[in-house]
Symmetry: C2
Subunit: 314 residues, 2 copies
């Protein structure tokens, strides 16, 4: 394999400034240089340069709890407070009474359906604006910064690097598609059409003569085995690069790996207790599969120079 | 309003060569020049330049019958022939016995569901390849050319013109999303991720260790009031330009019209019996709304110099 740097690819010093030199950065840069090199047998035309990123724990913090989960809980609580009749109806009752046992006994899929369905009838723009306000006005308990700032700077740089090399970059998350659009463009410059998530049916209505869409019931969840299905639905091509951090990304990695072109799967490892958190609770299976599948680990402790933009540059 | 031609916009003589000079072409060119002009108060940033095109009767021929309908009928017939047990099960029975009364008595939504669901379990790539073969090997009864050539050349030019002006161009059709992807890229240079149609749930499976997706049951139809809902789902922005030809595009036009930016809705009128067909059976309501809403009619007879690429240039 001949690897030459093509002129359109800026050199690696200009990109990924928050990454330490090392195996992960090296793999990424070599992969991108190879597939963008017209003389390489691994050249991939621009239209097939699809990259898919998980959201929670991959692009932003997911501890001590998923950010959307926290949003939903406070949103449901506020609704139950305002409308006491709801206090006897699930899932409002459980949230109002802080009955976590009930919620978790539903199983994660039914719980997500129940939580996401509480926005039925809401105008999608209002929903998105409410989330933006929440993310800007709510501080993270550990870092004491607004949640919107808890995005991983090296991942923003990676997305930018891929885009510079004509990748189409998508978010593929188990969270709600509309929720994710509240931050995708502002934080990652990912346009709304490049967001894939759990989704509701959107219903047409009109207000003061203006056509608008409101949220209906949940139509598709987007975790685990549903990620490849929804990648087919929204993109219609297999990714050549995927980034994730948990067991729910295994199927997306396998799907990416089955691409006829050379592919790269990157697993973010949360191993920096001081800089973020150290945990692998939902990542044990995927970690076991890394070696056999030649997936690449990104260690937050080893590979990231800085995790968040608000940290002082060294 | 000041309208100046910006240098990045090629002048109108180079574009739309199969269009006659006249009101429709003039409206289109003026609209595009205005919204791409940074000095205009109607300037629209690139990310918001969303154009949505209906497919059947807007981008290609839909007479004497919808092309996908013909494909489904022959596909179902072949399956029933191969597997006689199916001959007693609907919708195979009705198709096998050419019982059109039964099919139409289902209502168009249930008929579409029944037809599209006959592909449940099929690998999506195989399904798409089968359609491509069908479109290349089946001649149109009137024009005696392969169906794949029955696309409207002026519409290809319009899509190209919009793309040159940084529009993101989408197909938004009542037909199946996978079916449409079989021609969208080849005929219109519209990539698979820019196709919105009726869609099934895609299920993950594997064959010889290769991860792949197969078709499940229909999850969403995409006609009439569902077009704006699915535009929100797939794009997340309102279009500023929509093109259609029938009553099932009314809601998409209204949605486009409700964009805060200046918008343009184009209604293709089939009024050229010699060049194509002359009919307005499914377009009576939308035609009545044109004047009040200031939508623009494209007359195939008056505005198109050539309809199909296989016609000799004058």
């Amino acid at each position: 394999m001949k690897v030459t740097t093509v002129t359109s690819v800026a050199n690696k010093e200009e990109f990924l400034p928050s990454w330490n030199e090392g195996l992960a950065k090296e793999k990424i840069v070599k992969f991108v240089q190879t597939l963008t090199d017209r003389d390489s047998s691994f050249f991939v035309p621009e239209r097939e340069r699809i990259a898919t990123f998980d959201l929670n724990g991959t692009l932003w913090i997911e501890k001590p709890n998923y950010i959307q989960m926290e949003f939903e809980l406070q949103s449901i609580y506020k609704k139950a407070l305002k409308n006491p009749k709801l206090q006897n109806i699930q899932p409002y009752k459980a949230v109002f009474e802080n009955d976590k046992d009930y919620l978790y006994s539903m199983g994660s899929k039914d719980m997500m359906r129940a939580l996401f369905n509480t926005h039925e009838g809401e105008n999608e723009s209002d929903y998105i604006n409410e989330i933006r306000n929440y993310l800007k006005s709510t501080n993270h308990p550990k870092f004491e910064k607004p949640l919107i700032e808890l995005v991983y700077l090296p991942m923003i740089e990676l997305i930018e690097y891929l885009r510079t090399n004509a990748f189409k970059v998508y978010i593929v998350t188990g969270g709600d598609l509309g929720f994710t659009r509240a931050i995708s463009e502002e934080s990652f410059k990912i346009p709304p059409e490049n967001v894939i998530g759990s989704f509701v049916k959107y219903n047409l209505t009109s207000k003061n003569g203006e056509a608008r869409v409101i949220r209906g019931k949940i139509l598709s969840l987007n975790g685990n085995e549903d990620k490849p299905g929804n990648i087919q639905l929204f993109i219609g091509r297999k990714p050549i690069l995927s980034v994730g951090n948990s067991d729910s990304d295994i199927q997306m990695f396998n799907y990416t790996k089955s691409n006829k072109s050379k592919s790269l799967c990157l697993l973010l490892k949360h191993d920096d207790e001081k800089g973020e958190y150290s945990y692998n609770k939902r990542a044990k299976n995927v970690l076991n599969l890394v070696k056999k599948n030649k997936w690449t680990i990104i260690s937050m402790k080893r590979d990231f120079k800085r995790i968040f933009a608000f940290e002082k540059s060294e």
